[in-house]
């Protein structure tokens, strides 16, 4: 146990903490700062204002909304009054369906968008072919695609996946391309002078050089994927958190509606944190460079 909680090895020499020790060290440092307490206070104030509006004073129109007390009562109840809580299977069914759809849509968009964007940045010819089309399709709001996708694809699943994929694809492609544009010309020259073939340049300069932009793009793109998924589920869906929101609204049960919204907030946050973590893992050089600059 002692080996786990100290930064000193057997010889008594200081070593940089790693793994669990590093986590403990960072947590301690974090708790020693003012930030976490400010965050907690912010959350507290926000909840309090919400409670005052809906339940405390019951201001006009806010009295129609479920307040924090009503929501937490239902959310954590074994036998919820309005049907959805952490103890009901239905809640998880909706979550799982939405997450699975995101995984598929985001996966497809990334698998096609990243290479396409990279190739567009790398080769003038490919860019001339494809970029104008993308630039015209991209500004079309994703909801404008709904009728077309329903006409084009059968069932509930097809259109929903299509819309989420499309939205996320545009963001990813564009960012990957801009990532290549952002690479300093001198790296290409250096690579050329060191005797790289065109393919070597792609692997060793284009891909790693564009990576910071790609991951910024992926973080936005997973947010966009959630946004359009929920919109799609609300319009054409049988399951999923978006569907849960409209369904609850239609049936005049407001608590599950808000629970679904908050759940979306948390899942959205975690999915983008996951993407960021993966990015930091792949770009150790970038993280170290930024930390060197004190960021």
């Amino acid at each position: 146990m002692s080996a786990n909680s100290s930064t000193t090895n057997q010889n008594g020499k200081m070593v940089a903490p790693q793994g669990f020790n590093l986590f403990v060290y960072k947590t301690k440092k974090y708790l020693g700062q003012l930030d976490p307490y400010l965050t907690l206070m912010g959350i507290g104030l926000w909840l309090f204002a919400y409670w005052v509006l809906c339940e405390g004073l019951q201001i006009w129109r806010f009295d129609k909304l479920p307040g924090p007390v009503a929501i937490s009562k239902d959310w954590f109840a074994v036998d919820p009054f309005q049907g959805i809580s952490i103890f009901t299977q239905e809640y998880y069914d909706h979550i799982i369906v939405s997450c699975r759809r995101i995984l598929i849509a985001f996966g497809i968009a990334t698998a096609f968008g990243v290479p396409l964007g990279l190739f567009m940045g790398w080769s003038r010819t490919i860019r001339d072919y494809i970029f104008p089309i993308i630039e015209v399709l991209r500004p079309i709001p994703i909801l404008a695609w709904v009728p077309l996708s329903i006409l084009l694809l059968p069932g509930f699943e097809g259109p929903v996946l299509f819309l989420a994929t499309l939205a996320s694809f545009f963001v990813t492609t564009l960012n990957a391309m801009l990532g290549v544009d952002s690479i300093d010309e001198e790296y290409f020259r250096a690579a050329g002078c060191l005797g790289s073939s065109r393919w070597d340049v792609f692997k060793n300069v284009v891909v790693p050089g564009a990576l910071p932009f790609i991951f910024t793009g992926l973080q936005i793109s997973i947010g966009v994927a959630w946004f359009s998924l929920v919109a799609a589920e609300m319009v054409s869906g049988d399951l999923g958190l978006g569907y849960l929101i409209v369904d609850a609204y239609m049936n005049n049960v407001t608590v599950p509606m808000v629970i679904a919204m908050i759940t979306l907030g948390f899942i959205g946050y975690f999915s983008s944190a996951l993407v960021r973590m993966l990015g930091n893992k792949l770009m150790a050089w970038h993280v170290k460079e930024l930390s060197q600059q004190g960021r």
Binding site: E186, G195, P208, M283, W285
Partner: protein, 282 residues
Amino acid sequence: MTKEKNRNSGLGALSIKNVTKVYDPEGVNVMAVDNCSMEIAGSEVCMIVGPSGCGKTTLLNAIAGFHSVTEGSIHLDGELLCGPSKPLADQGADRMVVFQHGALFPWKTLQENVAYGPIVQKVLGSREAMDKAGTMLAEAGLGDFLTKYPGEVSSGMARRAEIVRALINDPKVLLLDEPYRAMDALTKQIMHESLLETYDRTGVTIFFITHDLEEAIFLGDKVHIVTTRPCQLKKTVEVKIPRPRSYETQSSEAFRKLLEEVSDAVHEEAVKAFQAGEREMA
């Protein structure tokens, strides 16, 4: 690698003949280099000094094959790099560039950066290349930083690593573009010693652009002073101070005389450049 390999072997002779380079963005011709000729012997340290924006980097880029020449030709050891029939030189590992702002790949460790050339040229397997890169970096005093990324080391170390990355390819010519620009005097001194040591070991031809006249005389066999834009050779000053040189040489009488000679010539051009600038503004 055998030491003294091409020391004074005479390899790496650059012959620049009547090179002209005209840029024409937006239809306005900018003549950066005009009918410039220069002979650089193999294993020579050739320093280029001249006013800002006169076309020094343009000349270097033409040698390295980063852009074409409009007229004239450049030969390396008698072989045509670029000329009327072939305005753009092929980029190749026989001429290695150390860039004005540094261009180590930030996503590769120092060791991976250095090993990169031999790997892509398929001269060495990746294991051997990494080993060799490690050894050479250690020789340059960077043994403790093999696994660091360029963003994690000081600019002086990055610069030294970049020179090692160039030298691992056994180039005939090393092209340096103001490599020690933003460095403090102390770091610069260390960099100079390290470069001279490398030169003594390898005898690589050095084409070195600088604004620092003392640096030019301290390092060079010849100092070529070029005119304000368009760039032409104005004057060549031979530095006959024997090698190996140490920092004390900088206080010798011979050094001071040379410095005076060079600064007179440079000053003349700087004044011209300044006046030309004023005319353009007017």
